[in-house]
Symmetry: C2
Subunit: 328 residues, 2 copies
């Protein structure tokens, strides 16, 4: 039997926990340790046998870990951690600040070109699987339009925004793709649609004692940037309902390319996800791409990489001949 891929997890929030659960599902991987700023005392892992170390101890594991899954946030953790870890480890991360990806890629690549490590950035579903499908669909159907719809999903930023409204005790916001818009795209109509026209917003609010529904609703639906330009619905619910129905972090969406081949025929290419837990799925993507980072490194494919550099064979636990025989 081949040796298992030895994996480390850096950061233990929703993503880190999801990565721990996902590694346990993979036949060819073992988790060596979780590294956290909180240290062993501050972290309660899913599995009793999981080792937890302070993040400062990571360096001592250089020879014991094939790839590190970096589960920190894009705002401050990853821009600092990834170039640092890339000096000594293969890594994957989910850096998702779109506008900063080119600079981030360069900052990582500069390190990994020297260290000879393989560091795959911006892994997940968007950026990630959605990006792959945008690129493949456009390569195959150069004439056409690509549409991305997000949802139904819990939006962290918009949930935070409604919770800041006066009179709101608790609140969540879901982004909902417009069914009419999706139907029009699938129908090959190539509509011209703004982000606001492609999505609706739905809020579930628990009021503070004495707060007035109409005032809270007005404050939400007129909030600039967040809600004013959208079709927004506000539902008022009890605390018990919030507790019962709105604790999950569902998300998903659609990438649809409506293209026209040279003979004038319309061709619809579609990819979609419907996720009951956004962080659990995102971390499962990270874990599969951790396999790729390790493999690509053993094959001498070093440097900063993105999902665009990774082939299906690189992320699969199966051998290429088995895949050809059983799934091609």
């Amino acid at each position: 039997m081949t040796k298992k891929i030895k994996v480390g997890i850096v950061g233990y929030g929703n993503l880190g926990r999801g990565a721990e659960a996902s590694i346990a599902q993979q036949p060819d991987m073992e988790l060596v340790a979780i590294f956290s700023r909180r240290g062993a005392e501050g972290v309660e892992p899913l599995f009793e046998q999981t080792k937890v170390e302070h993040i400062d101890e990571a360096e001592k594991y250089v020879d014991d870990i094939d790839v590190m899954i970096l589960c920190g946030g894009s705002a401050t953790d990853l821009p600092e951690q990834t170039p640092e870890f890339a000096k000594k480890f293969n890594t994957v991360d989910s850096f998702d600040t779109h506008a900063n990806i080119p600079a981030y890629f360069e900052s990582v690549d500069q390190v990994s070109q020297k260290s000879g490590k393989t560091n795959i950035i911006s892994v997940g579903w968007d950026p990630g699987l959605f990006s792959i499908n945008r690129v493949m669909a456009e390569a195959i159907l150069p004439k056409g339009e690509t549409y991305t719809f997000w949802g139904k999903g819990l939006s962290q930023g918009h949930s935070d925004a409604v919770r800041r409204v006066e009179g709101v005790k608790a609140g969540v916001q879901y982004t909902i793709p417009s069914e009419e818009a999706i139907a029009s795209v699938r129908n090959g109509e190539n509509p011209s649609l703004s982000k606001e026209e492609r999505h609706k917003r739905e809020c579930y609010i628990v009021l503070e004692d004495g707060a007035v529904e109409a005032d809270v609703k007005e404050a939400i639906v007129t909030m600039p940037n967040y809600f004013a330009d959208y079709d927004t619905t506000v539902h008022f619910i009890t605390e018990a309902e919030m507790e019962r129905d709105h604790q999950k972090m569902p998300h998903g969406g659609f990438v649809i390319r409506s293209g026209e081949t040279g003979d004038g025929n319309n061709q619809i290419y579609e990819f979609s996800l419907a996720l009951d837990s956004n962080p659990a799925f995102t971390s499962s993507v990270l874990v599969a791409y951790a396999r790729a980072a390790h493999r690509m490194n053993t094959e001498g494919r070093t440097g900063a990489k993105t999902v665009y550099d990774v082939a299906p064979n690189d992320i699969s636990a199966q051998a290429p001949d088995v895949l050809r025989r059983d799934t091609l």
Copy 2:
């Protein structure tokens, strides 16, 4: 400006014609010539300026063509042509006899390991894009079930079968995925479904003069292997209706993986195609992968390959830094 990729087409049926149309849509490719057993006299290309040569002349183009798109059939053309062309050319083909893929791969690889060419086999949508999605979904969600549904689509083999029934003047058969089955899978129910339960069959028949509807219908719906085990509907139509409504070759389908992440949450991964022209789309996939065959060869990635070896960057006309900036 970079030099365009110089492409040849071998075989000029529906796929060859689709490849000619697709190459004209690509910004970085030029068609050097079509090669046909019928020679220049026997082929009428889409574009007046397209050069047509007898297939025996292909060898003379060794220095003028970067990649050959092999558009022959899987039964007899490709098993003979691909190992022959792999001696001198990078190639892509759409070999789709699933059971023979391992042997076919070996026969091509033996040649291309010596010749140093890159030869991507079994390219299209199934095998092809559907296969990629099966592999990626299972790598990300190791616990779960993968479902493939085909259609709505014209089935060549089943259309031939109904046309052989006595009393049938003209006929076509469409494979239709069961909507109830798709809904159940999307709902995370992980149903156990045979191919017969996942699909329905719909036939459109023009009767010969004097033929009896009931007899023809009975002969079709009881036909073993083809229809007996399926929910089959037979519609009788006029010749004019056949001419007006059933001349296209639509196809498509769905790959859905219903998986469960380690936290017990259900996650639905779905890929689908709705194609107004099956051969036009399949040839567009071949053309995008022709780009990959050429690129991979210039990078020293030689030998027989499948879609599992090809990364999104390899098939895109855009440079990696542009893709990172604009679509990641």
